[in-house]
Each structure stands twice: as structure tokens, then as C-alpha cells.
């Protein structure tokens, strides 16, 4: 699968990334199949079937699930990859 469109983003120091991690959030939509969402999670994050299904169910029942947190650049890349799979994903700054 082709991956394209690399974002240019300012460099973030490790300590800054750790202090203010960015969250990758997947939101519920009624169209994407549950089996498809689980498959994408397993493939993208290398998760077990159980973990992927747990997050998929969280998306389904709670409307959203945080699937990754960390530095902004990597978070942007994950959101981009989730968009390639047509999932509703956003980048949010952690409030914690």
C-alpha cells in the first residue's frame, strides 16, 4: 500500500513530546465495518486481535478511542495512515 504526503512539522524535543503528548483519536462512524476497523488496528499498530477488538468496541460504544499518544510528528503520520484506511481519525493535544 502506497504511503504518500509527508507532513512538514517543526521539530519537537523529546521532553516536550513527553510533557505534552499528542493523542490519535479514532471516532465512530456507522459505515466502517467492525471487522474492517479491527483489521486496520491490527495492521497499523501491530496489536493482538483482542486488543484491536477492545479498541474497536470502545469506538463503537463510546464514540471514540485513543489509539496512540506521543510526539506530534508520529501522531500526524498515524492520522494520515488511518485516513488512508478511511477511518475518522483526529489529532488532539492531551490535556493531562
Amino acid at each position: 500500500m502506497a504511503r504518500s504526503g509527508i507532513l512538514e512539522s517543526p521539530e519537537v524535543s523529546l521532553s516536550e513530546a513527553l510533557d505534552h503528548p499528542w493523542l490519535v483519536v479514532v471516532h465512530n462512524d456507522p459505515v466502517n465495518l467492525m471487522s474492517y476497523v479491527s483489521m486496520v488496528f491490527r495492521r497499523l499498530f501491530g496489536w493482538s486481535r483482542e486488543r484491536a477488538e477492545q479498541h474497536m468496541m470502545e469506538v463503537h460504544t463510546k464514540g471514540r478511542s485513543v489509539v496512540w499518544s506521543g510526539g506530534k510528528e508520529q501522531a500526524e503520520l498515524y492520522v494520515q495512515q488511518l485516513h488512508e484506511f478511511l477511518l475518522l481519525a483526529t489529532l488532539e493535544k492531551s490535556s493531562g
Partner: protein
């Protein structure tokens, strides 16, 4: 319509009724051309920050659009290769090479999302809790969305089987 694996081990939809073959052929449609409002769902915003939105528009979305177009081109070629029985058996068959499964999943998903967004289908409608009115274009579009979901499930099943064998 029957789903099985071909002699080559590729996903094979066979004995496809001409009515359903029409829906498969509709898989060639460019969502941006046919569903201009619905296709907005295919490039969702990545967040709320204005700077991020601008970056996304300039640097990411054009690449995503190219990716969807190239995946659709693979699907269009496979559909063009569909075979129809002769004589009294006008049923169609569609063999999808294993290496094209990802392109099919993406393309069917894009069409389902664009159709659902274009027709504002509710979760209840999409989860089969209400019967579609097949006398309307909207009802037929819902049938199309559900038919593509069936095809997606078949393809996901084969991908999962491959993954389980690989683990």
C-alpha cells in the same frame, strides 16, 4: 452469488446475477464525480488547529486523493475483466487477485462512505433495523452500500485467514 476461492487461491465471486453485476460495475464510479457532497467524507479534517488543517489541505490530502484514485484504477481493471456466462446462463463471475484485495477494500469503502454521506443514512438504516424502500433511489443506494459491505466482509475474511496462517 457464491463466494469461494478460485483454483489460484484468489477470491472469486461466481454466479453473480445480472442485477448484482450491475452493482459491481457501479464500483467503477468515481465518488468525487458521482457523489460530490458525499465524497467530502473521504478527506476528513485531522483536528481543529488551523495550522494543521492548512498543512493537511496542502500536503496530505492531495496524496490521499492520488492514493484513492490509484486503488480505484486497479478495481476498474478487475471489473473490466469480469466474465459473463453464455447462452442461457447470463451469470457473471469476478476473480480478484489476492494482491488487489487492499485496493478493493479501499475502493468499496470509499464508495460506501460517499453513498452513506450523500444520502445521510442513519445508523439505524445502516444496521438493517429498518427496511429500505427499494422504490426510491435512496433505498437502492442503501442496498448498494449493504452489498458492498458483504463483498468487503468476504475479502476481510480471506485476509484474516492469511494473517492467522502467518502467525
Amino acid at each position: 452469488m457464491i463466494f469461494e476461492l478460485s483454483k489460484n487461491g484468489d477470491p472469486l465471486f461466481s454466479r453473480i446475477h445480472p442485477l448484482l453485476a450491475g452493482l459491481v460495475h457501479a464500483g467503477m464510479e468515481d465518488p468525487w464525480e458521482h457523489y460530490p457532497e458525499g465524497s467530502t467524507r473521504l478527506l476528513p479534517p485531522p483536528g481543529k488547529e488551523e495550522e494543521l488543517l492548512e498543512d493537511w489541505r496542502d500536503h496530505v490530502q492531495p496524496g490521499l486523493r492520488r492514493h484513492f484514485d490509484s486503488e480505484r484504477a486497479i478495481v476498474v481493471a478487475d471489473i473490466a475483466g469480469m466474465k459473463q456466462g453464455k447462452g442461457r446462463s447470463p451469470l457473471w463471475s469476478l476473480e480478484i487477485p489476492n494482491k488487489h484485495r487492499e485496493a478493493w477494500l479501499t475502493t468499496l469503502n470509499a464508495l460506501r462512505l460517499a453513498l452513506a454521506c450523500e444520502h445521510c443514512f442513519t445508523e439505524e438504516e445502516l444496521s438493517h433495523k429498518s427496511s429500505p424502500d427499494l422504490s426510491t433511489g435512496r433505498g437502492l443506494a442503501l442496498m448498494q452500500v449493504n452489498f458492498y459491505a458483504f463483498m468487503q466482509e468476504c475479502l476481510i475474511q480471506t485476509l484474516e485467514q492469511d494473517r492467522n496462517i502467518g502467525e
